[in-house]
C-alpha cells in the first residue's frame, strides 16, 4: 500500500530543467542504440579482418558493395519472417510455423508455375492466398479454441512441412524458372537487389501498422493484458486474426523470393528460419511476453545476425576450418544473451541511479 503513494510523489519531483539530459539518457539506454553499436562493431571487425575473393579471383575486403548487397539479399527472407513475427510477438503470441509455411508455399508455387503451367501473376496470387489461408488456420485455432499459440503453431509447423514433403514426395525439385521471375531474386533494380525493395516495402508497412495505427496499439494492449483488452472493448480475436493472416501472407512472399533467389523450390526450403526470425525479433528488444517492442529493433536485430553470419564466412581462419555455419550459430547465441542481459542490466543500473538521485534530492530538499 506504500508503493502507490511513493510512486505518486516521485514523478512530481522530476525536475523539468533536466528534460534534455533525460532525453539523452533515454536515447542512450535504448535497446536500439545498443544494437546499433553492436552492428557497427561487427561491421568494423569484419571490415578490418575479413577477406574475400571476388568474381575475378582478386582478394578484396569485406567493405565492398557486392558484399553488402550479398548480405541484403541473403537476409531478406528471414527479415521478412521477422517482420511478420513482430506484431505476433507484440500480442504475446508466437508463430513457429512460418518457416514450414515458407517451404510449403515454395513447392506449391513451383508446382503451380511449372507443373500446372499457370502464369506468374496467377501463381503468385494463389500462393499468397495459400499463405493467408494457412495464417487463418493458425488464427482460427488460437482464437476459436483458445489454444496457446505455441501449441497451435508447433502443430502447423509439422503440418505445413509434412504437406510440402508429401506434395513433392520428398524428391521433386522445381527448377527452370523463367528469367522474368528470377529477376526478383537475382537482379538489381535502381541499384539495389530487387527483393530488398520488397523487403523495404513490407518493413514500412509493418512499421506503420505497429507504430501508427490503433490496430498496432491494440496488439500491445493484448500483449500487456488480454483481460484489459476485453474491458477496453478491443476485438481481440479480430486483431489476432489480422496478425496471423498477415504473417501467412508475408511467409508466402518470402517463399517466392527464396525460390527466385535460388532458382529452385524444394520441400525443405526455409527449414529452421522461424528460429532465426524469432531470434532477430527478440534480439531487437521485443518482449517475448508481449506489449513491448519496435519494428526498428527487429530490423536492427536482423541486420546484426545477417552481418555476423555473412562476415564470419570472410574470416580466413574460419574459412580454413570450414566452420562458418557453426561459428555463426554459436556467436548468434552469445550475442543474444549478451544484448539482452546488457539491456536489463543497464535498466536496473539506471533505476538504481534514479533512486540515488531521488533520495539525495529528497534529503537535500528536507534540509533548510
Amino acid at each position: 500500500m506504500k508503493t502507490p503513494d511513493a510512486a505518486g510523489i516521485a514523478p512530481k519531483q522530476m525536475p523539468t530543467p533536466h528534460r534534455a539530459s533525460a532525453f539523452w539518457k533515454s536515447v542512450l539506454f535504448r535497446h536500439e542504440t545498443l544494437l546499433l553499436a553492436v552492428l557497427i562493431v561487427e561491421w568494423w571487425f569484419f571490415y578490418t579482418y575479413g577477406t574475400t575473393t571476388n568474381r575475378r579471383g582478386v582478394v578484396v575486403g569485406f567493405g565492398t558493395w557486392d558484399r553488402q548487397f550479398d548480405i541484403l539479399r541473403h537476409s531478406c527472407e528471414i527479415g521478412l519472417l521477422a517482420l511478420a513475427l513482430t506484431p505476433i510477438i507484440l500480442t504475446g503470441g508466437i508463430d513457429l510455423s512460418v518457416g514450414s509455411l515458407l517451404g510449403l508455399c515454395a513447392v506449391v508455387f513451383g508446382h503451380l508455375s511449372q507443373a500446372a503451367g499457370l502464369s506468374l501473376p496467377v501463381a503468385t496470387l494463389l500462393t499468397l492466398g495459400l499463405g493467408a489461408l494457412a495464417g487463418g488456420l493458425n488464427a482460427g485455432l488460437i482464437t476459436g479454441f483458445r489454444l496457446p499459440p505455441l501449441i497451435v503453431t508447433l502443430g502447423t509447423y509439422s503440418l505445413f512441412r509434412g504437406l510440402a514433403e508429401a506434395l513433392t514426395r520428398g524428391a521433386v525439385t522445381y527448377t527452370d524458372f523463367s528469367p522474368s521471375f528470377l529477376f526478383f531474386g537475382q537482379e538489381r533494380w535502381l541499384g539495389l537487389p530487387v527483393q530488398a525493395w520488397m523487403f523495404l516495402g513490407v518493413a514500412v508497412m509493418i512499421w506503420f501498422l505497429v507504430h501508427s495505427t490503433t490496430a498496432g496499439r491494440s496488439f500491445r494492449v493484448i500483449g500487456f493484458s488480454p483481460e484489459g483488452a476485453r474491458f477496453a472493448g478491443i476485438a481481440s480475436n479480430r486483431q489476432l486474426g489480422l496478425v496471423y493472416v498477415l504473417a501467412g501472407i508475408i511467409a508466402a512472399l518470402a517463399a517466392m523470393i527464396y525460390t527466385a533467389r535460388l532458382g529452385q523450390a524444394k520441400a525443405d526450403a526455409g527449414t529452421g528460419y522461424e528460429l532465426f526470425a524469432i531470434t532477430a525479433v527478440v534480439l531487437g528488444g521485443t518482449s517475448i511476453f508481449g506489449g513491448k517492442g519496435s519494428v526498428t529493433g527487429t530490423l536492427l536485430g536482423v541486420a546484426a545476425i545477417a552481418v555476423l553470419k555473412n562476415g564470419l564466412a570472410t574470416l580466413p581462419s574460419v574459412i580454413r576450418m570450414n566452420a562458418a555455419e557453426e561459428m555463426a550459430g554459436l556467436l548468434t547465441g552469445c550475442l543474444l544473451i549478451f544484448v539482452l542481459t546488457a539491456t536489463t542490466l543497464s535498466g536496473s543500473v539506471l533505476a538504481r541511479v534514479r533512486r540515488w538521485t531521488l533520495r539525495a534530492r529528497q534529503t537535500g530538499a528536507s534540509l533548510p
Binding site: T213, F224, S225, G228, I234
Partner: protein, 503 residues
C-alpha cells in the same frame, strides 16, 4: 464462561498505508463455543482473521493464546498454537488425492524421509470417518464438490489438532442439506471443546449456530453479545449505526427521460435472475448488496462481457443485443471496472494511451494514430479530472490508486457515453481523492448521464444515490428511494424486507 479464553485479541490495530483497517479490536474466544463475527463489507473481519492466522502482523495490541501472550503469530506458529482456518474457497491441490493433500498439510516437511504409507493411509481414513465423509482417501480433490472439499479442509484442521477453527463464510456455496451437515459438524467440534470463529453474512445461521456474536464496524469491535439476547434488527443496527463521516455533494436530479431500461435480465454464467430496473438521464442509481450478490455480474452483463441469456436491455427506448463490449460502447454504455489494475488501466502503457484507448474510433477515425489529437485529449482529461501525473507519457502504473481510477474513468468519459456504470469507484482510494471522485460523479450526472454506482461502502451509496437498488443472490430485491436509512438497505441486503419502509 469465565474460563481463560483460548484466543484473545486486545486492542489490535492494523493500518495499510493511510487506511486504518483495524482500530482497537477486542475479541475473546472460549473453548467449546461458536463465536460469530459480524460486520459489513470492509468492517475488518478479513483483516482480523488474517491477523489470527499470521498472514498480517498487527501494528499494536496483544494476542493471547490460552492465556499466554504471544508477541506475534506467523503462519507456522499459528499451526503450532492449533489455529486452523477454513476459507470459503478451499485451498487444496486439485490434482492430488485427499490422502496426499492431508499428508502435505500434516506431515513434517523434510526432504530426507521415507513415506510411511500405512500411517498415512490410516490417518486419512480416521480423519475422514471422524468428519463423516462418504468419499475415500484416494479420490482426486478436483472430483470433489465444493462442500466436500471443505470437509477435507476440516479434516486437515482436526488432524492438526486444531483447538481454534476459523470458518470464513463456509456456507456461501452450499445447498441447504450441505449446510445442515456442516452445522452438525461444527456442533461436534464444539462438543470436543474446540473454539470456532464463525463468519457469515446470513443472520439466520448465526442464530442457529452461534453462542456469542461480536460485531465489527469500521475496524473497531462494537460489542460482544450472547446470541440469545439479540434480535436480528438489533444486530443490523449495531452493524450500520454510525454517522456519515463524509460530506457528499447534494443531488441536482429532478427527473428525466428513461435512459436505460432493463427487463427480466438473466445471465446464468453470472448468476443473474430476472433483474429489472430503469435509470433516468441525470440520475444516480446506487447498487448495494453484499459481496457476491451479483452487482458486478449485472454490470458485466450490461456491458457485454458476460452476455445475457434472456431479457431485454433498452437504451433510449432502443432494444439492444449486447453480445460483446463493442455493442455496448457503440450504444453509449461505459463500464469502469472494479479491478482497475487488471481491467481498468494498462499499467505499462502511458497515461495518454490509456485515456484514448476506449474512444479510439472517435479520436482516430481511420484507425491511424494522431499524436497531436491524442496529446490534446489526454491533456484535457488530466486537467478536467485533476489527474496527478508526471506527464501524459508516464506509465499508468506509476500513478497512485486514486489517479489510476481517474484515468480509468477518463478513458470511458472520452467515449461520450449516455450510461456510466461505476464499479467500486472509490475502493482503495484515499479520502481526498474519494471526495474529488464524488464531485466528478455528481457533475457527470448533472450533465445528463445515467449513472449506476456500485459500491460496498454503505455511506457512499446513501450519500450519492438518487435511488438505491439492493441486490441479493443474483436478484434485485428492492429499489429504495434516495435518503433511505442504512438499516433499511442493510436489512434488504441481508434478506429482511418487512421493516423500516417509512422513508
Amino acid at each position: 464462561m469465565s474460563a481463560v479464553p483460548i484466543l484473545a485479541f486486545r486492542q489490535i490495530e492494523k493500518s495499510f498505508g493511510a487506511i486504518r483497517a483495524l482500530r482497537g479490536v477486542n475479541f475473546e474466544l472460549q473453548a467449546g463455543e461458536v463465536h460469530a463475527l459480524l460486520g459489513e463489507n470492509g468492517a475488518g473481519k478479513s483483516t482480523l482473521i488474517k491477523v489470527a492466522t499470521g498472514a498480517h502482523a498487527p501494528d499494536a495490541g496483544t494476542i493471547e493464546v490460552a492465556g499466554e501472550v504471544v508477541r506475534r503469530i506467523d503462519p507456522l506458529s499459528a499451526r503450532k498454537h492449533g489455529i486452523a482456518c477454513i476459507y470459503q474457497q478451499p485451498a487444496l491441490f486439485p490434482d492430488l488425492t485427499v490422502e496426499e493433500n492431508l499428508a502435505l498439510r500434516l506431515e513434517p516437511s523434510s526432504s530426507w524421509r521415507r513415506v510411511d504409507w500405512s500411517t498415512r493411509r490410516q490417518r486419512a481414513e480416521t480423519l475422514l470417518s471422524r468428519i463423516g465423509a462418504h468419499f475415500g482417501p484416494d479420490r482426486e480433490v478436483r472430483t470433489l464438490s465444493m462442500p466436500e472439499q471443505q470437509l477435507v479442509e476440516i479434516a486437515c484442521a482436526l488432524g492438526a489438532g486444531a483447538r481454534i477453527v476459523i470458518m470464513d463464510e463456509p456456507t456461501a456455496s452450499l445447498t441447504r442439506q450441505e449446510q445442515e451437515r456442516l452445522f452438525s459438524l461444527v456442533r461436534a467440534l464444539r462438543a470436543q471443546s474446540v473454539g470456532v470463529i464463525y463468519i457469515s453474512h446470513r443472520l439466520e445461521e448465526i442464530f442457529a449456530l452461534a453462542d456469542r456474536v461480536t460485531v465489527l464496524r469500521d475496524g473497531a469491535s462494537i460489542g460482544t453479545h450472547v446470541v440469545t439476547s439479540m434480535s436480528e434488527s438489533r444486530l443490523i443496527e449495531l452493524m450500520v449505526g454510525r454517522e456519515v463521516a463524509h460530506l457528499y455533494p447534494p443531488t441536482e436530479f429532478s427527473g428525466g427521460a428513461i435512459r436505460l431500461d432493463v427487463r427480466e435480465l438473466v445471465c446464468k454464467a453470472g448468476g443473474l435472475k430476472k433483474v429489472s430496473f430503469t435509470v433516468k438521464a441525470g440520475e444516480i442509481l446506487g447498487l448495494s448488496g453484499l459481496v457476491g450478490a451479483g452487482r458486478t455480474e449485472l454490470a458485466r452483463t450490461l456491458f457485454g462481457i458476460t452476455p445475457a441469456d434472456a431479457g431485454e436491455i433498452r437504451v433510449d427506448g432502443q432494444l439492444l443485443s449486447v453480445r460483446n463490449p463493442r455493442v455496448a460502447v457503440a450504444a453509449g454504455i461505459a463500464y469502469v471496472p472494479e479491478d482497475r489494475r487488471r481491467h481498468g488501466v494498462v499499467l505499462e502503457m502511458p497515461v495518454s494511451h490509456n485515456l484514448t484507448l476506449a474512444a479510439r474510433r472517435r479520436y482516430f477515425p481511420w484507425g491511424i494514430l494522431r499524436p497531436r489529437v491524442e496529446r490534446e485529449a489526454a491533456g484535457h482529461f488530466v486537467e478536467s479530472l485533476g489527474i496527478k501525473t508526471a506527464g501524459i507519457g508516464a506509465p499508468a502504473g506509476s500513478l497512485s490508486g486514486g489517479n489510476q481510477q481517474k484515468v480509468s474513468l477518463g478513458r470511458w468519459l472520452a467515449t461520450e457515453p449516455k450510461i456510466l456504470i461505476l464499479d467500486e469507484p472509490t475502493q482503495g482510494v484515499d479520502v481526498g481523492a474519494k471526495g474529488e471522485l464524488h464531485r466528478i460523479i455528481r457533475r457527470l450526472a448533472a450533465k445528463g448521464l445515467a449513472v449506476i454506482l456500485i459500491s460496498s461502502d454503505l455511506p457512499e451509496i446513501l450519500g450519492m444515490s438518487d435511488r438505491i437498488g439492493v441486490m441479493r443472490e443474483g436478484r434485485l430485491v428492492t429499489v429504495l428511494p434516495g435518503g433511505s436509512s442504512a438499516a433499511a438497505v442493510m436489512a434488504a441486503a441481508l434478506g429482511k424486507t418487512e421493516e423500516e419502509k417509512s422513508a
